[in-house]
């Protein structure tokens, strides 16, 4: 990994940081959350692939790098299956859109 790559990656990270902070102040409702999470994922991928050299790693290492995040997504998805539907618990099912 060359110094040039590293500092270009650093530059990209700084730009993304500025973008995410600025975007957070725009009144976009829930879209703000998804924008900031999208930028966070991009930043994390930059760090993973360039600084942590996943670019040059074999498939096995990449699978293990992804596994933790994948299992975290499972946890968030299935817990939110509960939380997103909690409030309408006692609304009759056929009336729920």
């Amino acid at each position: 990994m060359s110094a040039r790559t590293i500092w270009r990656c650093w530059g990209a990270l700084m730009v993304l940081l500025a973008l995410t902070t600025a975007s957070a102040f725009l009144p976009l409702g829930t879209a703000n959350l998804f924008i900031s999470l999208g930028i966070a994922v991009t930043k994390a991928l930059l760090v993973l692939f360039i600084f942590m050299e996943l670019r040059a790693s074999n498939a096995l290492v990449r699978v293990f790098a992804a596994a933790g995040f994948f299992w975290l997504l499972i946890m968030i998805a299935l817990t939110s299956a509960d939380y997103t539907h909690r409030t309408d618990q006692r609304v009759p099912v056929d009336e729920v859109p």
Binding site: T87, D88, Q89, R90, V91, P92, V93
Partner: protein, 315 residues
């Protein structure tokens, strides 16, 4: 010791529905386990070391068997999942116009309050042949309201209302348990569910002294806690009028809409700033820690009594 009981009492038609599913599962389980155990024993005997059984016949294609039993298990399991879910959905949706009873769990007793204001502890009297809806709360830890004869159970979680409903058909006395471990006297937290003929239930209600209905007691509390100062016409602060609100949709200040059910009313008393009705300021103080679960139940009953079905709140 009293013999070898196998089946719990059936206090209602639902118990029969569930027992039928259970029996079908039992048959399936006995057939499957029987097949596996029979094959184990059969193979063990036939192909024991030193037996003269024929071996090494034409080899069976493995994958055919694998695909066969995988598909069979999948189909049967999905059928069971759908069957179970369809019964559960009925269990989940209380019928309208059910008799509503508040039940509060606390270490280590169940306290019930009937709509007429009658209270009882570790006993629950209900009329036969009538839908009953329980609103469960807990004052301390998680409890679980369990009547095996009805085949129903629901945790009472502190901080929120849970509901369950049932319809008992058979007059009798049935065990009532706490099924979620709750501390020292967990095993003693329970008593009896008494299912009575409707007329007897009426007699019992009178004898138990319904001094005042739950809603009437709630109306007094509504004044004592000062709710009426804002929530009645001519109040000092602009606050939503509560007549006709119960059971109807309430638009909130964040744009969403909730149904004003028991849980919403309760949450609004304890944590008024969480779900503010659209068009109002979040000025109501919290009553968290100042109102007992018993009193909350009365307030909710009062607000329900001035709901759209009461006649008073009809618009």
């Amino acid at each position: 010791m009293q013999g070898f009981p196998i089946w719990p009492a059936r206090a209602g038609a639902y118990a029969g529905t569930l027992d039928f599913l259970y029996i079908c599962l039992l048959v399936l389980a006995f057939l499957t386990a029987g097949l596996v155990i029979f094959l184990l024993i059969f193979f063990a005997a036939k192909y024991r070391h030193g037996s003269n059984a024929m071996r090494g016949g034409p080899s069976v294609k493995t994958w055919r068997w694998e695909v066969g039993w995988t598909t069979a298990s999948l189909l049967i399991f999905f059928g069971l999942a759908v069957w179970g879910a369809s019964i559960y959905l009925k269990l989940y949706n209380p019928p309208p116009n059910a008799l509503q009873i508040f039940v509060v769990g606390k270490q280590w007793m169940w306290k019930a309050q009937h709509p007429g204001g009658q209270r009882e502890i570790n006993e629950l009297h209900v009329p036969a042949g009538q839908d009953v809806r329980l609103v469960l709360a807990s004052q301390d830890v998680i409890h679980s309201f369990y009547v095996p004869a009805l085949r129903i159970k629901q945790d009472a979680v502190p901080g929120r209302y849970e509901t369950m409903w049932f319809r008992a058909d058979k007059v009798g006395r049935y065990h009532l348990f706490c099924a979620e471990y709750c501390g020292t006297d967990h095993a003693h937290m329970g008593g009896w569910l008494t299912v009575m003929r409707p007329r007897d239930y009426g007699d019992w209600l009178r004898a138990a002294g319904g001094q005042q209905t739950l809603a009437a007691q709630g109306e007094q509390l509504f004044r004592r806690y000062g709710c009426s100062g804002c929530h009645e016409p001519g109040g000092t602060v602009r606050a939503p009028q509560l007549e006709g609100v119960f059971g109807s949709p309430v638009p909130l200040s964040d744009g969403s809409v909730v149904i004003a059910d028991e849980r919403y009313i309760r949450d609004s008393i304890l944590n008024p700033k969480a779900q503010v009705a659209a068009g109002y300021q979040p000025v109501m103080p919290t009553f968290d820690g100042q109102i007992s679960e018993d009193d909350l139940a009365k307030l909710v009953a009062y607000i329900e009594s001035i709901g759209p079905n009461s006649g008073r709140g009809a618009r």
